[in-house]
Amino acid sequence: MPFIANTDHEREMMLKELGLASTDDLFADIPEELRIDGLDIPNGLSESEVYDKLHALSHRNAHGLTCFLGGGFYDHFIPSAVDALASRSEFYTAYTPYQPEASQGTLQVIFEYQSAICRLTGMEVANASLYDGGTALYEAAMMAVRATGRSKIILDTGVNPIYRRMMHCYTSNLSLELDEMEIIHGQSDRRKFLESIDENTAAVVLQNPNFFGVIDDFTDIIETAHSKGALAVMSVYPISLGLLKSPASMGADIVTGEGQSLGIPLSFGGPYLGFMATGRKLARKMPGRICGETTDAHGRTGYVLTLQAREQHIRREKATSNICSNEALCAARAVFYTSLLGKQGLRELAQICAQKAEYAKTRLSSIPGVTIKDSAPTFNEFTVDLPRDASDVVNDLIDHGIAAGVPLGRYYADMDNSLLVAVTEKRTRKEIGILAEMLESVL
């Protein structure tokens, strides 16, 4: 029997040691009538049969399309060294580093990951990871609620709708007010937004670049929030930080985001990486594990999980979050990736993505009937308005081997003809050209 170590003989010896006649006797505490005879699923297959099955299933997906899909999840190149390091079984077959002396590998990786997140965002303290960008944003909002003792959350509609609907879901059973603020011309409607911040506001929740790829400087909103005693939560796209103003420099109090772009495969939606960073003052309010540096009796530097009094295994119903298992291996991938990328690499990558997106914008906007939706500046993603339903257009382009973008009708009532197009460093000039030509041909 695969993956079950004991042989029949060993089983017999062990049963004998226990004074039992059969393995069935091991389950004596379970009342007879609650037991079952076996499972109504197929018996096990050999490794090669299982591989063939999964291999066949993997071929029943259209993964060869030229990908202009984004929406918060990007087709960046993953250097082979990231995969090689993440395949080190010392990393992936260990668990939470409860025993620090036997887990310095994992712990130092977490420490370096936290450092990378802090350096990217400009913040002072990062946690060891949360499930994904959406739950991270929700946790940040709740952290603000706890920190301020207030109950209103103001959500910019430029925040990823995939995250906004999660926020609604998680808060629906709690007595919180969730206000959504409209955007105009791709950016937050400043007047309305600033007016809506009041003395009961726990947090303003922002995203940069926003879902439409539009860049903003939220300093004004954040200042107003602070002046009313509210906190500013901002979700960011890490790669953009090679070029764009950091959330810290805009004054954000809690920064979150989806770390998928940092060397994590798209993998049909997960596992991904929610990151979160804040200032030292709020650190003890933060959810999730935190790793800190310390020393042993010989003065040697080492790393431990710290500030655990925030966590469920200590504080139970009073914990800052219920999170236990997190996304450690994805965080490891992120630090492998950011270390390979380096300062220069990050800057260049951000530049390349932006430049290629600019080229795509130029090409697409020169197609008759196609217009760029917003005049606001964008990073590597932008919205185009098409002369007909974007879903239909995208469907037509699939036959040409192109996943042209995310149709926005599903997320914004009035945007059936809008298409969100993302460009990463993987898209060649030629591919962008083909997108433009094919789009023109199907319109």
Binding site: L39, S58, G105, Y131, C169, F268, E327, K343, A403
Partner: protein, 484 residues
Amino acid sequence: MSGLIYDKSTEGRRGITLPSLSTEESQLKLRIPDRYLADSTPELPEVSELDVVRHYTNLSAKNFSVDRQFYPLGSCTMKYNPKICEKTASLDGLMGLHPLLPQLRGGGMLTQGALQILHDTEHLLSEITGMQAFSLQPMAGAHGELTGIMLIAAYHRDRGNRKTKVLIPDSAHGTNPSSAAIGGYGVVTIPTGKNGCMDMEAFVDAMDDEVAAVMLTCPNTLGLFNSDVHKLADIAHAKDALLYYDGANLNALLGHCRPGDLGFDVMHINLHKTFATPHGGGGPGAGPVGVNAKLLPYMPTSIIEKRTDGTFTLRYEHAKTVGFIAPFYGNFGVIVRAYTYILLLGANGLKRVSENAVLNANYVRKRLAEHYDLPYGRSCLHECVFSASKQAAKGVRALDIAKALIDRGIHPPTVYFPLIVPEAMMVEPTESESKAELDRFIDAMIEIAELAEKDPSAFADMPSTTPVGRLDETKAAREMKVKA
């Protein structure tokens, strides 16, 4: 050899090559006004690919892991993760799929293979647990718990029930009370009786009309099966309270008994435990949530359905849903591994899994019983909890024993959990270890018990074979140096 990756940074060193821009692309002027731009670039380390590879390869050598050590960390089911699961999960046609692809054509026609994996996995889990349906979206056990609480809340809201609290035994994992609280409920803790199970009387007393749910782990964190579970269920159901099953210990029951048949209404499974997906140094895991008919209407969006023509699609419209608890379909990469594992083992294999997991735990329990206290001494299921109180009396605490094990090349059991056992040492060997390996562990534990008798002071310097000795946790918390 040591130091942080940031300490190894040298200005101008490169670890990556990026595609160069064509002239057509590079000649365009970016139209981003200065006020949106950063003054400086984040200080990521400037190192070569070799630097990165050598640094992290050397760090990996500082870990204990299942692939290198026996790792009987109780409650965590550190079984061996078959290598084939890593291979299937990284197939291009799975790992490379953008999560928004299903939206591009005919409700998932571009991702039929991926949707079939999700669909089949849900059905396999339903059959394995006796639940009616599963959602694979929760991204860990605790996330499954929270989802379960949200389902429970939706159920009560829908029925007009006014419920304010959740009953949880004191032996429960910390995530249980935490999830209930974060879901908006008050938590009532029920003590454990002499037999190691939730005190029946206390439970009955607490079981009033305001109870939304009872969260049980079964077998519980002492590795004990509560034979009264059916009775508990009846009592709870009589008040229209729901019974939640924390599936962290499902490895004990596979193929022998199903939570759905025991009267549970909602449950999660930790795929990273029972179904052998690797623990990743803390994650990612997956915590699929299963429900019986009562809770079916409230399941998270989206729902995977098989059309009559055999194709698969995602349904987004269902009126009573709790909504979106994940961005997409859960931790797909983890789910593929679990699916692979279930196909490998099958009905016959899974049944043997629990038999051997339970046999191994009982063998360790029996062999160590005269050396360590067993507060709840009766036959256990997949794990057993010792107490080091006998040794603690000599000044050797559970933590000291843990460190001694490290020096013997064995990862320690879970210590100080469950909280109700003083000096707890929770041993879960799993079925992937053989008697030979257990004997080695038992010998080490006996030797340590003898050392604790003879020379309690010997433990102070342990571990001594690791890159660092015991670390100053107070200093870490005080100085809060959490980044470089």
